[in-house]
């Protein structure tokens, strides 16, 4: 193939870049350097990254190039650079979780996902911005300042994984890792015009993923194409003996599924409770078009009802804070991270240092959820709050079971709105929480979900997303249906959605 200008190199999908690395027309050092240059050029405006490891990424790239030159067989994505959400432990690279309490902490170990990336030879460009401890839907709760949506720098990139989504949308990285506790991969995907996958709970190891809510967290791919997500999913997925909740099965055959073109006879359920009132007209219009596309292609589309989904948000905001209040107890200044002495105390006790550190080190949203969770778990309230929420969780799982008796996949808009203005919902947590109303049920039930771009809303010209949900361990169906939607829409538009995003370097 012919030589590419850097401008085109960074716009390649990961699979196309991998093909060029494999045929020798591009080296990993070239590709990695091009992305580092892009980061240097635009990240001042986007602020997708909290830490950039140029030296480490280039060293990995050079190593891969050398091994390739020596004729060593390499994994498909070897040499393709990647960005990692700052909630995954990276040996030798700071891991802050977007919090002051972990400022400067450098883990002595790698998360399993990260070690799999390293083993496959992916240069790690750096760590991406996020809402503090993944609490939020806008990345505005990062202690290090918000990330900006590449489609409109005055708007939010979604959250909590706004950094990973924005990095991919702004062509700062072809691939990124996100984590999704209630929609933190899928909602940023929807509002930035990118692809995001939350695998089945237990499908990707959580070892080294700094827990927000252990029973809900799941790491997954953040990419520009469904095929790229499939490649990445197969790389990071599969059993890990260090995570007891990891499923003892190989990763799904995502790439094969992404290559299937036919949806005739596929049973598709549109979830009645995830649409209509509360959803922005442009979001609903693009969603309806996707449904029509599937129908035209021969899929059997029916409406299904999941009545318990109405209670999902309430149950989620009891279970998540309960688990978080306990998970975040370890940040106590005793062994690592920030340590603050209480003002005006000469010889503070350990308890006083713990309290002062947590007061100084945690942001308001984190404190809010710790307080909520501590309250919900208190004796006398446990049954009414945590206990009831767990029952709702069972009801939601049963709704999914009943729905998947009738259909192969479920469909809904990913997020009820397009990206809102920075600051617009900061004083209204409940309105912020509603951003995840459509994504939360999947986390509560542990089922997998993908968000695929569905177009631009007529009223604001901003990206919208469609969500596909499948039964637990049937992640391959996400790639099958997701790839179909992506292909059909690209064909209809004659271009990819992201090609319509403003040119950030010109905008500067």
């Amino acid at each position: 193939m012919s030589a590419l200008a850097d401008r085109d190199l960074i716009r390649l999908s990961a699979s196309d870049l991998a093909a060029r690395l494999a045929d020798g027309s591009v080296t990993s050092v070239q590709a990695t350097q091009a992305h580092l240059d892009r980061i240097a050029a635009v990240d001042g405006a986007v602020h997708a990254f909290l830490h950039v490891d140029a030296e480490g990424a280039l060293a990995t790239a050079a190593d891969v190039d050398a091994r390739r030159a020596a004729g060593e067989p390499l994994p498909t994505l070897a040499g393709v650079p990647i960005a990692v959400k700052d909630v995954l432990a990276t040996r030798g690279m700071p891991t802050t979780c977007g919090s002051r309490i972990l400022e400067g902490w450098v883990p002595p170990y790698d998360a399993t996902v990260v070690s799999r990336l390293r083993a496959a030879g992916l240069p790690i460009l750096g760590k991406t911005n996020m809402d503090e401890f993944a609490m939020g839907s806008s990345t505005e709760h990062s202690a290090y300042g918000p990330t900006h949506n590449p489609w409109d720098l005055d708007r939010i990139p979604g959250g909590s994984g706004g950094g990973s989504a924005a990095a991919v949308a702004a062509f700062e990285a072809p691939l990124a890792i996100g984590t999704d506790t209630g929609g933190s991969i899928r909602q940023p995907g929807a509002v930035t015009g990118t692809v995001g996958v939350k695998p089945t709970y237990g499908g990707v190891s959580r070892y080294g993923l700094v827990a927000l809510a252990s029973s809900l967290d799941q790491a997954g791919p953040v990419t520009r194409t469904v095929l790229d997500a499939a490649l990445l999913h197969e790389l990071i997925g599969g059993h890990d003996p260090r995570d007891s909740t990891s499923i003892d099965a190989p990763a799904p055959s995502a790439v094969e599924a992404a290559g299937r073109t036919d949806v005739a006879g596929l049973r598709v359920g549109v979830v009645r409770e995830l649409g209509g009132e509360g959803y922005q007209p442009g979001v609903s219009a693009r969603f309806d078009e996707v449904v029509a596309l599937l129908s035209e292609a021969g899929a059997e589309v029916v409406e299904v009802s999941c009545p318990s989904f109405e209670m999902a948000l309430a149950a989620y905001y009891l279970i998540l804070p309960s688990e978080a209040s306990s998970n975040l107890a370890k940040f106590d200044a005793m062994r690592y991270g920030l340590r603050v002495g209480p003002a005006g105390v000469d010889a503070p006790s350990a308890e006083q240092v713990m309290a002062a550190t947590r007061e100084a080190g945690f942001g308001d949203e984190v404190k809010r959820r710790i307080i909520l969770g501590t309250y919900a778990l208190s004796s006398g309230y446990y049954d009414a709050y945590y206990g009831s929420a767990q029952k709702v969780r069972t009801l939601i799982a049963r709704d999914f079971d009943a729905a998947f008796e009738k259909v192969d996949v479920l469909l809904s808009p990913t997020s009820p709105t397009t990206a809102f203005k920075l600051g617009a919902k900061l004083d209204d947590p409940l309105s912020m929480y509603l951003q995840d109303v459509a994504t939360i049920p999947a986390n509560l039930a542990g089922v997998p979900g993908i968000s695929v771009p569905s177009g631009l809303a007529d009223e604001d010209g901003l990206p919208t997303g469609v969500q596909v949900l499948a039964p637990a361990t049937a992640d391959a169906r996400l790639y099958h249906v997701g790839a179909f939607i992506e292909r059909a829409l690209d064909e209809r538009w004659g271009h990819t959605l992201l090609s319509q995003a403003p040119d950030l370097e010109v905008a500067r």
Binding site: Y207, S244, M334, R335, Y382
Partner: protein
Amino acid sequence: MSVTTDLEPVGFDEALTRYEPVFGLEVHVELGTATKMFCACDTTFGAEPNTQVCPVCLALPGALPVVNATAVESAIRIGLALNCSIASWCRFARKNYFYPDMPKNFQTSQYDEPIAFDGWMDVEVDGETFRVEIERAHMEEDTGKSLHVGGSTGRIHGASHSLLDYNRAGIPLVEIVTRPVVVPGDKAPAVARAYVQQLRELILALGVSDARMDQGSLRCDVNLSLRPAGTETLGTRSETKNVNSFRSVERAFRFEVGRHASLLDAGRSVVQETRHFHEDSGSTSSGREKSDAEDYRYFPEPDLVPVVPDAAWIEELRGTLPEQPSARRSRLQADWGLSDLDMRDVVGAGALDLVAATVEQGSSPAAARKWWLGELARAARERDVALDELGVSPTQVAEVQGLVDAGRVNDKLARQVFDGLLAGEGSPEEIVAARGLEVVSDDGALGEAVDRAIEANPDVAEKIRGGKQAAAGALIGAVMKEMRGQADAGRVRELIIERLS
């Protein structure tokens, strides 16, 4: 806040005239697994601080626990040996509270779903059997250790700073909790002690822990309350920790009965709290106030999947159980030919294992019992230590008896050998050599001494000549005195009879 009693404790016997004690025991057993409960770190005791740690047991962000299967197996075997039912499905929970020696600021412990529950153990005291009901045996992890520096007593009060060692953090524990025990008050302290003793025997027989109270691998908390004699409602309890020997179990029990009685007599209420036992004074002092009001915000541990032991596996483990202590006692009593009373003395002195081991080393049961309950029990009392802390091993006792059996020392000389052993002078053989204790059975030396004794005691000699052989004892005594006890008494008797018949 906690009340330090200013009242003189009531005497134990007097307290029993008005009150009935109800007690419960919580015993923590540190399992002897090679690795920790939730990670692969080494568990060897006494390593350099913070050398047996990893991301999991230091609670580094992102690390996750994985259950140690051997620990589960040990817990099930303990449960089975205590006649418990074994849960077919159970979970771990998080017990949330902040403390620097607990890295996660929650302890991963079983809460309302223990691995083993509803069991019992029969405890023998003074020939009577008392059944102690087991409420539960559950798995949990140990905390790290704090060392408070700069204070006077190693306590946090007055300390300038604290050092933390996380080697112990995450070591598997099984906590065995009894139901409230009600037995006649005068027997209660002994029942409590005997329960802990028997439990330790059982743990050792199972091979799941070294169960060393001095190293903290077996720890006992004594929960105690009093209620007016003849009433049913339970009184307020105290929980005494730091009870590090069998004897302390009994002493702490007695002290707390007296303390509670004095408070109740004065019309005051007992504060529900943790108390610390002090070996030196035999008293307890108030620790942190801990009541049911403390809210640990338990919830099921979401990082772990439920423990679901297979029924066939449980039966397989049942097949590996050692002999029950009570059955073993019956068997040993029969083997040794002891009366109930003699056997009770052996058990009561904490000498059962020691006598059994001595017999295994070749001693006769009677001799083994004689030395442990006689000479050595006396030495233990003088030193205020338990028999097994004397520093004399069953093998050594058997060696001493071997010398007696061979006629090389007599009982009196053997006592001197024990003195040497207690003083750490080496092996029995070395002590005999160094102290010159071997009996003299050389006819030449003995004969001269016998002749002198006959000469010095003509009256006695005459009696023997007249057929009164029993009178020979006086002459033997004289010979022994001259030979400073080192004469072979049997040979001396023979020489005397030879000469005077």
